[in-house]
Symmetry: C2
Subunit: 220 residues, 2 copies
DNA sequence: GTTTAAATTTAAGCATTCCTAACTTAAGAA
DNA sequence: TTCTTAAGTTAGGAATGCTTAAATTTAAAC
């Protein structure tokens, strides 16, 4: 049974592994968790001894099957809590992450299954991220496109929002964007590649940088 | 901001202080938390230095105002979670304690206020224990009597159940006893001072020892 | 192919929280 | 009032998880 700290490292490494063509380095993990490289180096060795990581000194690391299972277990708890906080307690996108970050380490399997049942076995969290089931299996992902690639004139449904900052999340909340919202692509300005979308009765110009955090599927 | 461990000590001391005519000793705390007396002695000194306790070596301890405030803060979180787990997720009496024991240390003030609001600012937890408000004020307590003192022939409403064991809690759940349930006192056997109560259509003989965990107010 | 800079690991140290064992104090029995 | 024992404290040690500083390895520049 890993400690809170170990769960944080394992989760971080799992997330860093998702970037293709790049093995995970000590520095990557240290930056992500905002701890020293020395602390990371130590911890990585301990996790390796305990079978969560494959690791060769100076050569980067990768999670073992055991490590992946543990990571998905933490991620499941995190995402179920996020969904619960948004759907039941009405927290906003920007409010949930910090709370879930703590709760994910303080929730028994028993309680998580009860929450899961209460939420009717959800497959995606409020940001559209997939929730692993209790065996660690991820649901199939929809075939989304990011907003800069959505075609003008068509309608799309929002299925994923990457949470890069509180400011951005609050902005999305403010303009009424939420998961499964249907928006119309009004136009795209070639000048800066920004996109004008219509949400309800209002239109908004979304810069390319912001738009790259929004993922849609065509609404048919 | 006290650590989890410190919160546990402060809460334990608060609870031990509630027994009248007895100052709290190192041994009391050590037994309650199931740690060594040495660990307790050390921690008590640290808590005293940090202003949570009044403490003189070999002379027992008592919480300062600061300590009491901290204890009530933890207790508030614990009881709100217990109520939530029972009322919303449908956990049983015996299931909630262990979960709340962890969650009480992992919940921000912000989240607790949201839970409190969701539960409509409850005054009592599922065991009938009072929930301190966010300023640490306890609600006024009803004037309960324990079951062995309830009068035969009268109806009473259950307002408090002390959770001495899982077995007992499960038994209460099984016979349909829950907070605010109205029961009729059918008779009392002088042989062993047990009480026969009617819950719904069924009657049960409750031994004096068990009965002393149940507290009622007369139902008018 | 060296040299140098960046990445990584090791070393030394600190805080927290626990343990067991040894010692000290207090309090009740004789 | 002294003696004994129970209660309480100190000492020494371990695990976790972090820090900064020093040493080492790798990799990239020249």
């Amino acid at each position: 049974m890993p400690t809170i700290s170990k769960e944080d490292y394992i989760k971080a490494i799992y997330q860093l592994e998702s970037y293709p063509d790049k093995s995970v380095s000590t520095t990557d993990v240290a930056n992500k968790l905002e701890v020293s490289k020395a602390a990371t180096s130590e911890m990585v060795q301990r996790l390796s001894e305990q079978g969560f990581l494959n690791y060769e000194k100076y050569r980067g690391m990768s999670l073992t099957e055991d490590g992946k299972r543990t990571a998905l277990h933490v991620i499941r708890r995190h995402r179920i809590w996020e969904l619960f906080l948004v759907d039941v307690l009405g927290l906003t996108w920007s409010e949930v992450h910090a709370e879930a970050e703590i709760l994910e380490h303080s929730t028994s399997d028993f309680l998580i299954e009860r929450l899961d049942k209460y939420l009717r076995h959800p497959k995606f969290d409020p940001h559209g991220e997939p929730i692993p089931d209790k065996y660690g299996n991820l649901p199939e992902l929809p075939d989304w496109v990011s907003l800069p690639k959505c075609e003008v004139g068509k309608s799309y449904r929002l299925v994923k929002v990457t949470d890069s900052s509180k400011e951005l999340m609050d902005y999305f909340t403010e303009i009424g964007l939420s998961l499964n919202k249907v928006v119309m692509i009004v136009s795209r300005l070639s000048y800066d590649n920004s996109t004008i979308i219509q949400v309800g009765n209002d239109s908004f110009n979304i810069s390319e940088k912001i738009a790259s955090n929004l993922f849609f599927i065509e609404d048919v």
